[in-house]
Symmetry: C3
Subunit: 336 residues, 3 copies
């Protein structure tokens, strides 16, 4: 598809400068863009690439505007503008329409208008898929599920019985929604499995990353509010509740019954133990471990700093001696 | 299904108090239960919900008994009793019986009585599935595998050649049993893959979480003894041996050739490096890293404590200086 | 298959000692090998097993040669020699040849000579699979993909549109290539998804572990150079570039736009944050977190040492007080 500078500015309510009829038909990095492509500068680190860029149009902020003499879109948030513009150049990779002959769909299931059911998809009893949702291929949906409108569910996703997905949500390949929560009670001879009779309830405009797992609740549901965005390889345990607009980066995990507030930013590899409450507007830095409830917005970290291994070994020895070191210091202080 | 207070007490050999014919037909939390539902109190934290609960029957311990005037089951372990009782209310989500027409089963495979083979399941040469096991859908089983009786294997599971699963084991969606262990030898031009000629041997009454991976051994098998319970997203490397009744929480990992004892509790995000031995009855707290064998039962931790990031930065700087700090202190001590 | 001591030595250009016609037909550990099997000793820790072994042939180094009186292959790198020899005893587990009738293949896709397409595999528009590659079962390949020669792609793998895999690469079960990178821009009402218009480009002789995820790039590709070896449960974010011969152990992760050099060894559970550069020949110890670029080859660590929990609690309290401890010490030093 092709679009002009003027049309872009009008569509997204942005200011432009340059030849209004200049057309672009794709997007690229500043470094690689040619004259038929649009690019952007959001990070000052790449300013040198701006001056040398051959991009047909560049999206940038006011303070960088003088560095580029070509066609420009000027905005306070170039990254956001670029995100919106590049959706125009996204091509659907869905090759099918309607219901593929290999799909196995229960007679009691209801499929809305415009739904695409790709090859090898399975839909269980009484499940309902609302209009225009795409089940790309090899999706397995259990009984009594409800999937909202305009969702995109990618290959290999498993959605177990009674789970609910809201509108416009995207589930990336291999994610597992509604596996049993990890409930065990100890009997004299060993472990007894605690049945997990709740489900998973995911809101509108959510995104669940590849191979991420969200377990069903023990009695109540595990809940993700609207606009929650989860990266890959994340583990959400049973009975967890995650607030609106919260984002979690790859490989993070929240243990059972913990409640995470709204607008939280959870870094890669973070762990939050169970039965806690994290308030709104908390940022957890990469690989932090949270072992107590957090009641005050702000940024939190744990993790030792990186050192050359030979230096780290010395620090590690001293970390074990810390209590003695502190006591020795207190004693010396008294003596002085 | 409906069951009375008296029948419940008899079935599970528990003491009751109240109207013996009182019937319940489901389970719920104390907060949400109505008069037709059973609930439980195991954690004193929720005592306030007990006094206000509308539950038809509550399972609780002797010391909470006075706080509830309705129908009660009194036991020393309410959580365990609840686990057993709620299995009565669990409904099977398996819609099929017998062998689905889309299953691809090798002629040399043997399928026991009452086995359910769901849509798109593949079973390889000479593999044997024992009686009453359910392969829910889209399960891929390689050659020469043996799956025991009454197992439940969920969608998307892959069990590679020569692997053995015991009786009554549950494999959650997307788990991978018997992928190649990560064996590499360095040659002058790059890496050479070391063939992994062993398999995986999982005992009876085991549970393997969603998207968990257990690799086959290099020569011998990777082994899980009976009643081992693994949560989601766990990695078990080649040649590992895990003892009876050991439980691992989500995202933990054990590297190659390590032996974990019986009755261990391994927290979320824990890492245990290779070629170690962890004795019986060890608890590893969340995100601990084990780098030496553990010979003494008990609880172990690593991980720095969480701090506000601004405070953490100061601690991080000092952690790097720890050796100097300790030496300075020793020097001062001598001077005094 | 059977092979003699002399033939083995000739095939792999190794020195031997003993009966040249001695035949073996399999491999096993020193402890379990019988007279028809070959074994090896690479680690001095197992020397006691050597003297007692019944193996028909043992591969070992010069300095252990006197400890075994049977048939021997003597080499400077027994583990490497064993890796090469045991490939002779590896049996293919692929039961099919040609294209399985259940495969769903786009008419515009091109399939090379000798390719095996197993049951329930899906191949998209214009995708190309080169000669002798095996798609074992239930593999999903999107549009415009290119898979090289002699690859082995295991069940449940998803390769999304426009991705490229080189020759002789192995993709283990459940790995996901080309899911969307985690790109989000914040608008006033919530998050906007940033389209991910790049792809993934994996070189020759790579290995991608079970349930590992490699995301497509935002504009350019996410790249793995030749001979990169990734274990299970690894997360590679969008726009990452990994150099030749680099190896990553299970559960490690590299965040967006980071560049990892050649010949790096990345331990289990390691995290590398985004927009960094790690030079060649760096070793990252298990569970280290890298938050700054590394410009000097060598070994790096973070992570607190393991302690009994009661001791760890004391260290944890003191870690939080470290800045005060250091300042107090400096003050005392001045007073003295």
């Amino acid at each position: 598809m092709e679009i002009s500078l003027e049309e872009l500015a009008q569509n997204f309510n942005l200011e432009f400068s340059g030849i209004k009829n200049k057309k672009v038909s794709g997007v690229a990095t500043l470094e690689k863009a040619n004259n038929t492509q649009l690019s952007f500068l959001a990070n000052s680190k790449y300013t040198s690439q701006l001056t040398k860029s051959n991009a047909g149009i560049v999206v940038l902020s006011e303070n960088h505007s003088d560095l580029f003499s070509g066609n420009k879109i000027i905005t306070t948030d170039p990254y956001l503008a670029f995100a919106k513009i590049s959706t125009l150049f996204q091509e659907s990779q869905i090759n099918y329409s309607g219901i593929h002959p290999t799909a196995v769909i229960a007679k009691t299931a209801t499929i809305g208008e415009g739904v695409v059911v790709g090859p090898y998809t399975i839909i269980g009893e009484n499940s309902n898929i609302e209009s225009d949702t795409v089940l790309e291929a090899r999706v397995t949906i259990g009984n009594n599920c409800h999937i909202g409108k305009n969702c995109l569910i990618k290959p290999g996703v498993v959605i177990s019985s009674a789970c609910h997905i809201g509108d416009r949500s995207i589930l990336h390949p291999g994610c597992i929604i509604g596996a049993d929560g990890f409930g065990l009670a100890r009997d004299k001879d060993g472990w007894i499995k605690v049945p997990q009779l709740g489900a998973v309830n995911i809101g509108d405009d959510c995104e669940i990353g590849a191979n991420t797992t969200i377990d069903r609740g023990t009695l109540d549901d595990t809940v993700l509010e609207n606009d929650v965005r989860l990266d890959n390889q994340i583990q959400i345990a049973h009975n967890v509740h995650i607030g609106q607009h919260t984002v979690m980066a790859g490989c993070s995990a929240v243990a059972g019954s913990t409640k995470i507030g709204k607008n939280c930013l959870i870094g890669g590899g973070v762990g939050v133990i169970g039965h806690l409450e994290v308030c709104d507007n908390v940022t957890l830095q990469s690989m932090a471990l949270v072992t107590r409830s957090i009641k005050k917005p702000g940024s939190y970290s744990s993790v030792s700093p990186l050192q050359e291994t030979s230096q780290w070994r010395k620090s590690a020895v001293r970390i074990k001696q810390l209590d003695k070191i502190a006591r020795k210091l207190n004693k010396l202080e008294k003596e002085i």
